[in-house]
Symmetry: C2
Subunit: 393 residues, 2 copies
């Protein structure tokens, strides 16, 4: 089955889904012509069901359309959409310290304070890509100053909103070094070479040595400051989608650094994580697990989320492209089959985001507080392009 995979035909599938279904859905439904920015709370048909604007998703959509413009085709419409979102973000997105709010009202009034450093990460990605598309240094300056602010805040990203009492259990979280792996490559050209190299080296070390658990062959979400295991809810937590997504960031870095050992290790971690987190009864990848098999706090632990599966497709295909490890292609086929038979909505377009353990639709939305124009189109684009390379090679 795997051996007969038709890369050319598959590439067409991913391309057509991206350009014929997913991107048009967001082009059609998400723009707020009155107040600027994007609606992301879109119901099954694409109708707006809530007007709050979440900075994560505003930034991600700016990034997505800028990326399509930069890497695929210089369509004016795509640049226009990206600048439409960036204008709203630039005007309303930051507090007096230059930190990015978590959410805004439709009109741009700040709703939820800048407690979440990933708002800043996605703003950096957005303005970084857009500065290239629009050839505008002002956007580049926003990206660079936000990036430096992230680095400065990285020891205590939640600032005064951190509810953990200082000193008792000072865990550090996987999300930030993971995101910085990708972010530093994203805006590499805007940064000082030393800062890039330093950041990349530190993040690779953090992800692959500190958060990677040698005993379990899995990536932990939280560790003690010295990297040791914390036998607590947070310390035992696994987020397989996170770990697998991080592995394609690492594969990209390994490619840049021409580091075959790192590449192989990233592929091994991916395959082991999938083995561990695949639901043997109903298929699909679990959302959260406990490294010791204890009950998790997350009631959504057994759900099947769109981004987890999309990210796995990218990592597996990148892994296969670079290593030709057949297990990557077998897993790609398996995750591809699950993904395409469960997430796309044949009736109203775009993809469902949230399925229950059995793979039934849990929430019919196409976008919300966390799902926007990002994982699906980024994944379709990435997989399409790797399939093309595989077809040519």
């Amino acid at each position: 089955m795997v051996m007969t995979m038709n890369f050319k035909q598959l590439a067409e599938l991913y391309k057509n889904e991206l350009l014929g279904n997913v991107i048009p859905f967001w082009e059609k439904h998400s723009g707020d012509k009155e107040y600027g920015g994007f609606f992301t709370c879109l119901d099954r048909e694409g109708k707006v069901y809530d007007t709050d604007k979440f900075v994560w998703l505003q930034g991600r959509q700016v990034w997505m359309f800028s990326t399509l413009f930069n890497n695929l085709e210089n369509r004016d419409r795509w640049l226009e959409i990206a600048e439409h979102g960036a204008g709203f973000l630039e005007k309303y997105g930051r507090d007096e310290n230059g930190n990015w709010y978590f959410s805004l009202t439709r009109e741009g009034k700040p709703l939820i304070a800048a407690y979440n450093i990933f708002s800043d990460c996605f703003a950096t990605m957005a303005f970084g890509q857009l500065s290239k598309a629009a050839r505008n240094d002002r956007y580049a300056e926003i990206a660079v100053s936000t990036f430096k602010n992230i680095i400065a805040r990285s020891d205590n990203p939640k600032g005064k909103y951190n509810k953990a009492v200082t000193g008792t259990r000072p865990l550090k979280s996987f999300s930030l070094p993971m995101t910085l792996c990708n972010l530093s490559l994203e805006i590499e050209k805007l940064l000082d070479k030393n800062l890039v190299n330093e950041t990349i080296d530190r993040c690779i070390h953090e992800v692959m040595e500190v958060f990677y658990d040698r005993d379990f062959w899995l990536i932990r979400e939280n560790v003690n400051p010295d990297g040791s295991f914390s036998d607590s809810f947070e310390g035992r937590l696994l987020n397989p989608g996170h770990a697998i997504e991080a592995m394609w960031f690492i594969i990209d870095l390994a490619e840049r650094n021409q580091d075959q050992g790192l590449l192989k290790k990233a592929v091994d971690i991916t395959l082991h994580t999938l083995d561990y987190s695949w639901d043997k009864q109903f298929d699909g990848i679990y959302y959260f697990l406990d490294i010791k098999g204890k009950p998790v706090q997350q009631l959504e632990w057994d759900q099947k989320l769109w981004w987890v599966h999309v990210e796995a497709l990218i990592t597996l295909l990148k892994g296969y492209y670079h290593t030709k490890n057949p297990a990557c292609l077998e897993w790609f086929q398996k995750v591809h089959d699950y993904t395409w038979s469960h997430f796309p909505d044949q009736q109203y377009g775009e993809w469902f985001g949230y399925l229950n353990r059995r793979g039934e639709v849990l929430l019919p939305l196409k976008g919300g507080k966390w799902k926007g124009c990002f994982h699906v189109p980024r994944g379709l684009y990435q997989v399409w392009k790797i399939l093309e390379k595989l077809n040519e090679s």
Copy 2:
């Protein structure tokens, strides 16, 4: 079916489950003999799987054993357990401002800061009941000073941990007035009469006029400061279990105030909430809904939780006892059947807490961060006692 309900036999069932299964489970498994306080993270068999101590659950267990001692039987063992928990709480539970932490390590070091005012509410309940059981004024002082601190903090319960930007969308939440309905009755005898009456009047008004939505006949979780509807995720949110639980607090207050109109209104709201939130396909009461039927943010929205069903049993039977409305008894039978066929664990005792939409066990734990020795035994006790009264009447 309903007409032939054997109150006497049912009372035995609830009594035996309380005294023969649930209370012994916590007596046996939850005490931390080494460091004091209670383990609440107990797996299916009752084994400790995490040692963190959550102030909500420490307080609730102290309250439960004090209540059994005060209302059922003066068993030394029950007072001993209550004081065992209270000693730990008194020594480690509060910060320098007298606010109660959210969680502590096994040894009592503060883990999560006092961002959550319900820690204070459950501490008040705990020390209020215990002061009566132990005839100890020091406990009463802790209850009273904590209660006054709650009232003082009630305009901004999260304090500096409130991430909502001031002024943009200043919602108020149902949880606190709802809890104060119960709390003010709980420690009525320790408080100045005027303070009690003021608090009760204000809370009844808040619950039954402000948070109750006349158009939908449902209770909203969050409203604008003037009580109007906020068309936002928070403003549209329904938590049927919360609303139904609040209605037995209101029924208790209506009984105290001899207010038949209030009683009838509480029963009507209960019945309508159940109609609205009962899962017609798989049975059971949903965890979260949107008042306009839009997608909710809570991924656990369709799950069936133990406390929701237990609280509904109490409200329905209290409602029936006071009004003799046959719909209360019909619903009681329906919720009773669902509850007893899904939550009790025949093999290892106590009750499961978290079921998926289909009623299958989602997490096999008997206790965790939110489930402890509280809703199941309180509900069994309350229902048993009402059944006895119904049998005698």
